[in-house]
C-alpha cells in the first residue's frame, strides 16, 4: 500500500475515534448543559438536606434552571449550606424566593424546587435565600404519624 493511502486511512481512523468521543460527550453525557459557567451562584441554608447531592437539578415550575454546585456544613448555624448555580438566563428570581428539597418519584433523586415570591428586588450572585424547606425524611414522617394516631 502506498504511503498516501496509509496516511488517509490513519486520518479516517483518528477522525472516527474523535467523532466517537464527541458523540459520547454530546449525545450520551450531559456535557451539553454545562456551557461554561455563565450563571450566578446563590446559597441556601437547610436544616436537613436528606440525600441531596452535588450537581442535583434546581428547578423552577418543574423546568431545570440550574444545578447544585456545593454542599457544606455550617458549624455555626448547625445547618447545611447548599450553593447552587442558576443559569444567567433566569435572572428574574425575587429575593423572597423559596427553596424546597423534593424527591423526584417515589425513590428518585432529590432536587431543589424554587418557588418565586413577590418582591421586586431580584437575587444576585452570592445572595442567600431566606425561605427554605428541608427534605422530607420518611422515618420522621412515619414517627409523626404514629404519634398522631396514638394521640387520638
Amino acid at each position: 500500500m502506498t504511503t498516501r493511502r496509509i496516511e488517509i486511512t490513519v486520518g479516517i481512523f483518528v477522525a472516527l475515534g474523535l467523532a466517537a468521543l464527541f458523540m459520547l460527550a454530546i449525545q450520551v453525557s450531559n456535557l451539553g448543559e454545562y456551557r461554561g459557567s455563565d450563571g450566578y451562584e446563590v446559597h441556601a441554608y437547610f436544616n436537613n438536606i436528606g440525600g441531596l447531592k452535588v450537581r442535583a437539578p434546581v428547578t423552577m415550575a418543574g423546568v431545570r434552571v440550574g444545578r447544585v454546585s456545593a454542599i457544606t456544613y455550617d458549624a455555626e448555624r448547625y445547618q447545611a449550606r447548599v450553593s447552587f448555580t442558576v443559569s444567567a438566563r433566569y435572572d428574574q428570581l425575587p429575593t423572597d424566593t423559596q427553596a424546597s428539597i423534593y424527591t423526584a418519584g417515589l425513590l428518585g433523586e432529590q432536587y431543589i424546587a424554587l418557588e418565586p415570591g413577590g418582591e421586586d428586588e431580584v437575587l444576585r450572585a452570592g445572595d442567600v435565600i431566606l425561605f427554605t424547606q428541608s427534605a422530607l425524611v420518611l422515618e420522621e414522617l412515619i414517627g409523626r404519624m404514629l404519634v398522631n394516631l396514638t394521640g387520638n
Partner: protein, 259 residues
C-alpha cells in the same frame, strides 16, 4: 541447586525483568523526540496498530452493546424501570467495558503482533544490524510502536463505547420496544461528562500505556529463537490481561471510591 536457591533465583529473575522493563520504558520515552521530526514512522504504526484493530473493536462493541441491551432490559423490566436501559448500557460501557474489553482485545489483536514483530526482528538480528549502522532501534522501531499503541487505545475505546451505545439502542428500542426518547434522555440525565466519560478516557489512556509497554518490551526482551518469540507473544497477552484487570480495580477504586 537446592530449593531455596532456586526460589531466590526465580525471585531475582522477576526483579531483574521488572527493573529492565522500567529502564526500557525510560529509554523509549527518551527516544520519543525523533517522532516529531519523522511523523511518517508513527503514521505507519498507527495504521498497523490502530486501523487494523478497528473492525474487531467495532464488531465486539456492537455485540457487547446488544447483549447489555438484552440483559439490562430483562433485569430492569422486573422493577418497571425499562426506561433506565439507556443509563445502564451507557454507564457500563463508558466506565468499564469500553476501556477494559478494548484493552483486552487490543492485547490479543495488536499487542501480540507487536511482540512477534519485534521479537522476530531480534531473532533475525535486524535490531543488531541497525545498531551496526548507527540507527538507534529505540528511535526507529520501539518508540513509534509504543506511541501508536498509546494513541490508538483511547480512540478505539471511544469507538467501542459509541458503537455499543448504538447496539443497545438497536436492541432496546428497535427490538424490545423501549421508548427512544426515554432511552436518550435518561442516559443524558445520569451520565456525567467529567465523572464518567473522562474517567473512562483516562482509564483507556493508562491501559494504552501499559498494553503498548508490555507488548514492545516482551518483543525486545524475547529470547531470540522461534520458541522464545512464541513464548514472548503468549506472555504479552497473559501479562497485559492481568495488568489491565488489576489496574482497572485500582483505577475504579480511585475514581469512584469516594461515594
Amino acid at each position: 541447586m537446592g530449593p531455596f536457591q532456586r526460589l531466590g533465583h526465580a525471585a531475582l529473575g522477576v526483579l531483574e525483568r521488572l527493573g529492565r522493563g522500567h529502564l526500557f520504558l525510560f529509554r523509549t520515552l527518551l527516544a520519543m523526540g525523533t517522532l516529531v521530526r519523522r511523523p511518517g514512522l508513527l503514521v505507519r504504526e498507527l495504521y498497523s496498530v490502530g486501523v487494523l484493530s478497528l473492525l474487531i473493536i467495532a464488531v465486539s462493541g456492537l455485540f457487547v452493546g446488544m447483549v447489555l441491551g438484552y440483559q439490562g432490559y430483562i433485569t430492569l423490566v422486573d422493577f418497571g424501570a425499562a426506561e433506565a436501559l439507556g443509563t445502564v448500557v451507557a454507564l457500563s460501557l463508558v466506565r468499564e467495558l469500553g476501556p477494559v474489553v478494548t484493552a483486552l482485545l487490543f492485547a490479543g489483536r495488536a499487542g501480540s503482533a507487536l511482540t512477534a514483530e519485534i521479537g522476530l526482528m531480534k531473532a533475525t538480528e535486524q535490531l543488531s544490524s541497525m545498531e551496526m549502522m548507527a540507527v538507534d532501534p529505540y528511535k526507529r522501531v520501539i518508540a513509534p510502536r509504543f506511541l501508536a499503541g498509546v494513541i490508538s487505545l483511547p480512540l478505539l475505546a471511544a469507538i467501542f463505547s459509541a458503537v455499543g451505545v448504538a447496539g443497545g439502542y438497536f436492541i432496546g428500542v428497535g427490538v424490545l420496544g423501549v421508548d427512544a426518547g426515554a432511552y436518550w434522555s435518561q442516559m443524558q440525565a445520569s451520565v456525567d461528562f467529567r465523572e464518567d466519560v473522562m474517567s473512562g478516557v483516562i482509564k483507556s489512556l493508562v491501559f494504552g500505556v501499559v498494553a503498548a509497554w508490555i507488548a514492545v518490551f516482551e518483543g525486545y526482551d524475547a529470547t531470540p529463537t522461534s520458541e522464545g518469540v512464541s513464548r514472548a507473544t503468549t506472555r504479552t497477552v497473559v501479562h497485559t490481561a492481568l495488568a489491565i484487570l488489576a489496574l482497572d480495580f485500582i483505577l475504579t477504586g480511585l475514581m469512584f471510591g469516594d461515594i
